[in-house]
């Protein structure tokens, strides 16, 4: 009996194609279970209202999506997330390229400096947020002490006490942590550029600035495009900084989208609207990725 079953399975695997399907079947089951099912379940949730007392989900059509756009706090978080994303991505990539160009030069202790450079990125996000919370502390923070001793400010300030300064303080904390990753990837790309290219450019009369624009940048461009996409997605999903550093305050001035979704879902128990907002993030991320690719690459292709 067992032999017959095994023979049948062996026969079924006669072609490589069939064998391939059979082998990926278990992985497919897992993927369907942990990705597709929750994806569809939350999509259903975004069109429903949860009734906790009766344990039911009532279909309400697009009501959650309509409510979402009427919610001034959601619109505010969307605006803040957009600003946060644009500023952090531009700052991180510009700074990252500049630092990478410096670290690509030959100088004493270069290896050591490169090693130190990566440290902020190696810090867990939560630790980074807690660390900056202490640095910005209005009464005993290191930033106030430093700036006062350098006579840049006259008295201690509450850096997180104003919506605008809090948002920028949060952006700074994010840029500090995320820039090394850009440095790392750009350095890797720079190390692949042959010195002959720069020599040819020099013979053709190009100065350092022109060599950067005409030789370096086109070669590292694919890496920059990938970085811009990845960084945008990560920035849109930023959660730990508002959660730990500011609590979304003051006055909702740092309430980024991910944090507001968490509040709507788990604090207000509005699972329907939470799901619809999460789909909004997915959509925005998708559209942004397409835009970046179109804008930064020639003929719509990254090569």
């Amino acid at each position: 009996m067992t032999q017959k079953v095994l023979k049948r399975i062996t026969n079924a695997m006669d072609s490589d194609k069939k064998l391939g399907y059979l082998l990926i079947f278990p992985s497919l089951l897992v993927i369907l279970g942990v990705m597709l099912y929750p994806f569809l379940y939350s999509l259903n949730m975004s069109f429903s209202k949860m009734d906790f007392a009766n344990r039911t989900m009532n279909y309400i059509g697009l009501d959650n999506y309509i409510r979402m756009f009427k919610d001034s706090y959601f619109i505010n978080s969307l605006r803040l997330t957009g600003y946060f994303t644009i500023v952090t991505v531009i700052a991180e990539i510009s700074l990252g390229i500049a630092i990478a160009l410096v670290l690509n030069q030959k100088f004493k202790f270069r290896g050591f400096v490169r090693g130190i450079m990566i440290l902020p990125w190696a810090l867990p996000s939560v630790v980074n947020a807690i660390m900056w919370k202490w640095i910005y502390n209005p009464n005993y923070g290191a930033l106030n002490a430093l700036l006062t001793q350098m006579h840049i400010i006259g008295e201690y300030r509450d850096w997180l006490g104003e919506p605008s300064s809090a948002l920028h303080a949060m952006i700074f904390a994010n840029v500090w942590k995320e820039t090394p990753y850009v440095v790392l990837l750009v350095l890797a790309a720079l190390s692949n550029i042959s010195g002959d290219l720069y020599e040819s450019a020099k013979i053709d009369g190009a100065n350092a600035w022109q060599a950067f624009w005409k030789v370096t940048l086109p070669i590292v461009k694919p890496v920059i495009v990938v970085l811009a996409i990845m960084k945008s997605i990560w920035a849109i999903q930023t959660f730990e900084l508002p959660y730990i550093l500011t609590g979304g305050g003051p006055g909702g001035g740092t309430e980024l989208l991910s944090f507001y979704i968490y509040k709507a879902t788990f604090k207000f128990l509005d699972f329907g609207m939470g799901a619809s907002m999460a789909y909004m993030i997915t959509l925005v991320t998708f559209v942004l990725s397409l835009l970046y690719i179109k804008f930064l690459s020639k003929d719509g292709e990254i090569v």
Partner: protein, 433 residues
């Protein structure tokens, strides 16, 4: 080739068998294990008591196990983590826990959603008559009791007596005007940086402080019909004016209040940079006298009152926490035994003696043994008479969020009080219907 395929097919068959057996009904493997001799096991999820630095709850839980034979898995986390875990647990109707934290602001929501078990059939007359009535009321909804308090977290007005003496101030302020005057005297004499710092950060601690301020100015965000009514609400306008001027014009309130939580406020007070702690938790008195944690050892005192517009509006905030049994628990009897043990008068007294936690039993406030150890509890008792809890409404979390966000805009001067109040009303209107 055939041998390779044969091996692969065997691996595949084993894999499928494993999946099928894993997905099978696990109860079948436990058949026969449900005998009466088996130890009952319950899982308890509670935040750590802020004064329990000696593992008191853990030790007593093990004692409970010895006495009853019921095995207990005690999970302690920060309040925020516990809140998140319980919300997900309740919403998904899972049954991981048998005893859970019930915060005073959750009662309406948890009871309406039928997430927790009414305890009416469990409690005896001793608890009904002996536990502080205000505490039991806080955990009752529509006539049913849902939680037994385990943490009488009432806040008290404390001050730095040594600094007041040095400034020639004979008694702590009774009114908000006196608080401002005394703060300015202390600041002018260089004894403090600010009169006080408040925890107004955009978080529940900020909402607690705003609620306390509005109560002690004789107001409330919620009117008698359970609606948010701020238009022409004179006491509320006065409370916000006082805070706004204190932060920006008179500058006797530390501007860092906008981003401070309870820990920050305690830190500043314990360093001696402020003189007043408006709503200190009971354990702060002991912390302030611990030389490892405080620079004001032997300097603080508890006032027999809390500041108000006048004596009638003087208020302290009570934020008690209770233990409740989820509807989904399969071990309700054992869970109740744990709650009963952990809230008994004997246990409550021991807890007060060992970690200084405030009792939940009325009698214990006059217990001579406890008063000998904690003489300042007499003043706690006087302030307790004016204790009030948070608003008991079904949409409390949304309401709290709106008040936190819009109030900071008012206090920072980004919005006028009138416009800010309108923003609170309009934002609250969408879910309070």
């Amino acid at each position: 080739m055939l041998a390779k395929k044969f091996t692969l097919s065997i691996v595949l068959v084993i894999f499928v068998c494993l999946i099928v057996s894993g997905c099978g009904d696990s109860s079948s493997s436990n058949k026969g294990s449900g005998s009466s001799n088996e130890k009952q096991k319950i899982t308890v999820l509670l935040p750590k008591h802020e004064m329990d630095n000696v593992g008191f709850m853990e030790k007593e839980t093990r004692q409970f196990e010895k006495e009853t034979g019921i095995q207990v898995e005690l999970i302690n986390m920060s309040w925020d983590n516990v809140a998140d875990k319980i919300t997900v647990e309740m919403a998904s109707n899972a049954n991981s826990y048998d005893v859970i934290e019930l915060d005073n602001s959750w009662v309406a929501k948890f009871a309406t959603n039928k997430w927790i078990t009414p305890l009416n059939e469990f409690i005896g007359s001793e608890i009904k008559e002996g536990v502080l009535p205000g505490l039991l009321d806080k955990f009752s909804y529509n006539g049913d009791l849902y939680g037994i308090p385990w943490n009488n977290d009432t806040r008290f007005f404390m001050y730095n007596k040594k600094k007041l003496d040095a400034a020639g101030i004979s008694e702590p302020p009774k009114t908000w005007d006196e608080l401002k005057e005394q703060s300015k005297i202390l600041m002018d004499k260089g004894l403090v940086k600010y009169g006080f710092i408040d925890s107004l950060m955009q978080a529940q601690s900020g909402m607690n402080e705003l609620t306390f301020m509005t109560y002690s100015f004789g107001g409330n965000y919620i009117d008698g019909s359970g609606q948010v009514n701020l238009t022409n609400n004179a006491p509320l306008i006065k409370a916000y004016e006082y805070l706004r001027k204190g932060l920006n014009e008179d500058k006797f309130i530390d501007p860092a209040s906008i981003t401070s939580n309870y820990e920050t406020v305690a830190d500043v007070f314990l360093k001696g940079d402020t003189a007043f702690f408006l709503q200190a938790w009971p354990g702060l008195y002991q912390t302030a006298n611990d030389p490892d944690k405080s620079k004001i050892v032997g300097e603080i005192a508890v006032a027999p009152y809390s500041p108000g517009v006048d004596e009638s509006s003087s208020t302290v905030l009570t934020l008690p926490e209770a233990m409740a049994i989820p509807q989904s628990s399969k071990n309700k009897e054992a869970a109740w035994k744990y709650i009963e043990y952990m809230s008994s008068k004997k246990f409550d007294k021991k807890k007060a003696q060992e970690i200084g936690a405030l009792p939940i039993w009325t009698d214990l406030f006059n217990d001579s043994e406890l008063l000998a150890v904690y003489p300042y509890w007499k003043d706690f008792g006087k302030q307790s008479l004016k204790a009030k809890g948070l608003q008991d409404i079904l949409w409390y979390d949304q309401f709290s969020n709106v008040v936190q966000v819009e109030s900071i805009k008012i206090l920072l001067g980004k919005n006028s009080i009138e416009d800010g109040f309108k923003a609170i009303e309009s934002n609250v209107a969408q879910f309070s219907k």
